[in-house]
Amino acid sequence: MVSSYRLLFRCVLVMLALLLALPVLTVLFSWAQWNGASANILAEMSATVLPDYVGTSLLLCVLVSVGVVSMGTVSAAAVTLFDFPMRRSLEWALLLPLAMPAYVVAYAYTDYLQFSGPLQTALRSAFGLEGRVFPEVRNVWGAACVFTLALYPYVYLLARTALSERANHLMEAARLLGAPLSRRILRVALPLARPAIAAGTALALMETLADFGVSSYFGIQTFTAGIYKAWLVMDNRIAAAQLATLLLVVVVVLLAAEQRAQSRLRFASARVDRHGSESQPMRLHGLAAVLAWVLCVLPVLCGFVLPVLFMLRALLQGDGMVALPWARFVQWSITSLSLGGITALLAVSAALLLAAQARLQPSWLTRQVKGVVSLGYAVPGAVIVVGLLLPVGWVQATWPQSGVGYWLTATVLGLVWAYLVRFVAVALQSVQSGYARVPTSLDDSARMLGTSGLSLVRRVHWPLLKKPLAAAGLLVLVDVMKELPATLVLRPFNTDTLAVMAYQLARDERLGEAALPSLALVLVGLLPVILLSKTLRRG
């Protein structure tokens, strides 16, 4: 009985992996289609622009990791380890930037801060200045700031969960043993949060590498910009896919490093702090409280409040406004939410399946499957689209009667598939870092008591994983709502989303009008973010 279960489990796993890996495999397969044209393009590019692209992407990654690690960890530590005025509100407010797509943050800041923007213009006329008052926003440094502000919540979210579960308890113990505060933070709290910080940073970096919206608007030449150029301008999908493979190699290295960091951590204790345990966060007074408050308010201010204000300003100052069909905002919001909801459910199920399998029957197969599935997140959305459309096109051409090509785009199947390829990794990161905190000794005890397999997952893991699972689902929901390239190409007729509308208006250089769907997107995105925060607090 058990073995047939296992076989079934394994089959499902392999099918799932194939489905999710197909676009990535298509990308890898591009090397088998090596031909003169693509070789020529790659040779030209590596002689001219490629080194520059690599350099820019590396610099961007370094800056973004420094940014998200410091911003995410500091704010997470502040709200979990200490108590200061407004801590409760800041705890959830720090998640608000999650609802902001990075490209929207980029538009908002540029519009306000650029040379011809209102701030510099006002300063110039007020003080009779000439020329540039501020440094240019649209460069690598500006992009790093935008990504940091838009992506630090990944680190914050995962680190906060890790810390809130037991850090106070252990900090208390360390205090009783006479460890000073700095030592308690560095030696006790941070190591606890390390897997979570690593997971969050990996997510942020993958998102950065896959980005095209911000980098194309800022005119910075990243590796992904090169991939787009090879595909769109050179019209050579093979060269584009080959470049994308190189990106994948970087991600594999990144993920391997993260795995190594995590594998050295084992949590032996089964104790998980329950809410309201005897150990309380340390109350801060005076300057320390102000400092903590400032450190937590800054990310919210710069990542959410200011961009929203800039957009509101653009909206109110905009001319006449194209008559936007207000009633359809409701329809767009519902489409955004339902696409996100469906994907979130499926992604979390898939992630749980994978993580549980990896936990219960760790094997070469599960490790590879997990690895391949994680890659999708770092692949630019447009590459996923091509990777998905190519094999489908081939099947359609070979068996025209199958109508695969029709079902892929006339229904949401293709779109949800593309979402899953990209975002199962997000769910997996969250579920895995949840699993990392469930001691393996619990599994051993359960097995000794005669529970194993699915029932072990259901009776032991499920109750302990509820939080990370809910967090995973909500993260995917928000991510799907912000997603652009796949939504743009694969959605069925007459199914516009808020993100698509915002993009279409921005593409038409109507930033004032684009502010409206962008704000609606942020507003609708707040719903899952608030739920997320509540889930985490309820425990």
Partner: protein, 348 residues
Amino acid sequence: MRCTFQILSLALASVLAPAARADDAVINLYSARHYPTDEALYSDFTKATGIKINRVDSDDAGIIARLKAEGSASPADVILLVDAARLWKGEVDGMFLPVKSKTLENAIPSQLRSKPADDGSTAWFGLSTRARVVVYDKLKVKREDVDTYEELADPKNKGKLCIRSGSHPYNLSLFGAMTEHLGPTATEAWLKGMVDNMAHAPKGGDTDQIKAVASGECGIAVTNTYYLARLMRSTNPADKAVTERVGVVFPNQQSWGTHVNVAGGAVARYSKNQANAVKFLEYLVSPEAQNHFANGNNEWPVVKGLKLDNPALKAMTGGNFKSELVPISAVGMNQIKVQQMLDRVGFK
């Protein structure tokens, strides 16, 4: 929880239901036009003919990738693209079904539609045009220093030029046409000259460049006409101020004429509603629709002899201008070559 489930299943049902397939009163439209003012264009067609339009708006490359994958199962009937080189590419890749229509052939000048096949059918039809012009700071730049494209690369304009990314389709088409006029070697030198003249590395869109000129950040910029016309017609005082500071030049009036790009449409290769698809394209060259292109999105109609009542376009040209005559297929074929030149000279 049950409520959530119900909402989800409802949502699933609503998004899973595929669009109608072959149906008399429907056309399925893939459009790369990103102009929100087009809504009226579609609803007027439905009002006039009773034919419903199912629509997906995407970008040119996305539409072509999607059509390729869908193959013979594609539900698309009509495809609208917004760049000459992409139209040419769609034709070369066999995405379009060449059709015969006297209405379209009579209305559209031959250089603004694809070359007819042996049987007289045409793959795609230009529907509206836009010129790529130069704007300059009236306080700092003399008009005669920027009245040709060649002068954009002249050392006298050093440090003044602002332009969006060279890889953007609008620029690629302009540079592709220049390659026809100047030849590849001189074009590469011209591109290099522009790089040397840039006030800063390319970033932002055309509107950003116009505003940058108005604020004194740059002296010269390159833009599509409809972005400028939109600012000219804006009621926002800030936009008004922008257009008062900048002057506009339609370059090369004394030589080969100003570069003009074309937005157009075609019947999809595997259309199941061909008759309606042609009907829609014919509607797009009707006086009402053409006037809509002119007024809604400030483009020039392709149909000659229409009375144009767009004050901004009129103010810009002073009536008429000379546009270049370069075969669109040549512009399309030059695209890769142009991108490689851009990479060599460091034009981002």
